[in-house]
């Protein structure tokens, strides 16, 4: 579970991005963090990953302060940034180095995800394209079976077939107690994966709701997250 309490943060003094933000995210759900470019999505998920520190308030991950980045917390967390950087080694060497850091890592799952993504399992990471590197990153993150998985714009850099593969993989990898957060400004890419929608703009949460409840609310009209998102943003401005 991720609990954010009265979180305030700003990149510069006098320029607050978040002010007294509260948010609770529960295990077993896939959260979609939606917002325009510069809305504060990346900053918020970096707070959750312990890569940015609150000026005031707290952000805890299963009871541990994210900012402390203690090894027990890091074993429960995998963060996929928008820009993926992987070491210049082959995939087998990459596995030899990193799988030991994650106690629940499942090699079989990793190989299966690579197969679905059509990435040769003995590739050299240096020779892979940006999109293929991202696929390896995603495959490893999912196979690490951490309690919390955070993805920043996961579909950026993926071509259309890969986006479909990504959706299939994330859906198949969903386990009952994993908390997944995906931030995006391309709502359509992740529409079918999300259980709960968080809309954010200018550092404020404009809406947080279960997708099922939203679907019911808009029934008989089909729920279109992109239209809903634009409507919420328009209302605000």
């Amino acid at each position: 579970m991720i609990v954010i309490k009265y979180l305030s943060y700003g990149y510069r003094k006098g320029q607050q991005l978040f002010e007294g933000l509260n948010l609770t995210l529960h295990p077993g759900k896939v959260y979609g963090l939606l917002g325009r470019n510069g809305a504060g999505k990346s900053s918020l998920i970096k707070q959750m990953a312990g890569l940015l520190f609150p000026v005031h308030g707290s952000c805890t991950l299963n009871g541990r302060e994210a900012r402390h980045r203690d090894p027990d917390m890091l074993e429960q967390l995998f963060f996929i940034p928008e820009e993926c950087q992987l070491p210049p080694v082959t995939i087998p060497v990459f596995l030899r180095i990193y799988q030991g850091f994650y106690p629940n890592f499942n090699l079989h799952q990793f190989e299966e995800y690579l197969r679905i993504f059509r990435v040769p399992p003995d590739s050299h990471l240096r020779r892979l394209s940006f999109g293929q590197k991202k696929k390896v990153y995603i495959a490893f993150a999912l196979a690490a079976n951490t309690a919390v998985l955070i993805m920043d714009e996961p579909t950026n850099g993926l071509d259309i077939p890969s986006k479909l593969q990504f959706r299939d993989i994330v859906r198949s990898a969903g386990c009952c107690d994993r908390l997944t957060i995906m931030s995006t400004h391309q709502v359509k890419d992740l529409d079918n994966l999300i259980d709960n929608v968080i809309m954010i703009d200018q550092g404020q949460i404009l809406l947080q709701a279960d997708k099922a409840a939203l679907t019911e609310y808009f029934s008989p009209e089909p729920l279109d997250l992109e239209i809903l998102f634009n409507r919420v943003i328009d209302q605000r401005s």
Partner: protein, 260 residues
């Protein structure tokens, strides 16, 4: 307690394996480049041996230890300056202390020991095979007359570079080296100016803070050192400085944020 110690060593071993497996090619090339540069320096020193009297070997050793050490650290610490690399490093399930320890092992112990061994081998080979026994006087004496205290300076510089890499976002190594040079210039020349101002003595020509000062008296250079006890205290602080710098580096890594 025993189990957590074992786990800690396991993590350190895993981080060390990571460092080695990801960079073994670069380590090999570094060794090769150092060998070639050392051979070149030995050749230059031997060829112009009449023009460069004195401890040539020691000079070459210092250039390799400090120059090579700075270049090696610049490459090793780049992981701390690039946001994408830093995210990967900070997210690895290991403590900040364990991660710092790996940087210290590689930039100080492995480079320091590795370079010393390589230097000894290349020097022995060069003078043994190329220059012949007549070049005996050109041999270095790095473990004599307290010369080995240069290792302490080397350790401190490597630690400052680590702190610089954790502090500056861009061109961290260049900025840190410039700051260190500025410090040495200010410390040496500033101290002379300060001493002249305080004492009104214009004949002071050089000095080092917490070290000595030199003045000219009847055309002779006179050196004035600290009293023995004060010098021992300064030396002790000098040996404690690395521990202090390691602690700062640890805190900087603990507090590192990815703002880009």
């Amino acid at each position: 307690m025993k189990q957590s110690m074992a786990l800690s060593f396991k993590k350190i071993a895993a981080l060390n394996r990571r460092q080695w497996l990801e960079n073994r090619q670069a380590y090999g090339l570094t060794g090769l480049a150092l060998t070639v540069v050392l051979l070149l320096f030995f050749f230059i020193g031997w060829h112009w041996r009449e023009s460069f009297p004195g401890a040539q070997g020691n000079g070459i050793f210092l250039i390799g230890l400090f120059g090579g050490g700075i270049a090696f650290s610049g490459w090793l610490y780049k992981e701390l300056s690039r946001p994408a690399d830093s995210i990967w490093l900070l997210g690895l399930p290991a403590s900040a202390g364990q991660k710092i320890l790996i940087f210290l092992l590689h930039s100080i112990i492995f480079y320091g020991v590795g370079f010393t061994l390589l230097f000894q081998i290349v020097e022995t080979l060069f003078y043994g095979v190329v220059a012949g026994s007549s070049a005996g006087v050109l041999h270095s004496a790095i473990f004599e007359n307290g010369f080995y205290t240069c290792y302490l300076t080397f350790i401190n510089i490597q630690l400052w570079l680590l702190i610089g890499s954790l502090s500056f976002k861009k061109a961290a190594i260049i900025k840190t080296v410039l700051l260190l040079l500025l410090y040495f210039i200010l410390a040496a020349s500033g101290n002379v100016v300060l001493m002249k101002m305080l004492t009104g003595e214009a004949r002071i020509t050089s000095s080092l803070p917490y070290g000595y000062f030199q003045f000219v008296h009847e055309n002779e250079n006179i050196y004035v050192y600290l009293p023995a006890l004060a010098q021992h205290l300064v030396d002790l602080l000098g040996w404690l400085l690395p521990c202090f710098l390691i602690y700062i580096a640890y805190l900087k890594l603990m507090e590192k944020e990815i703002t880009a």
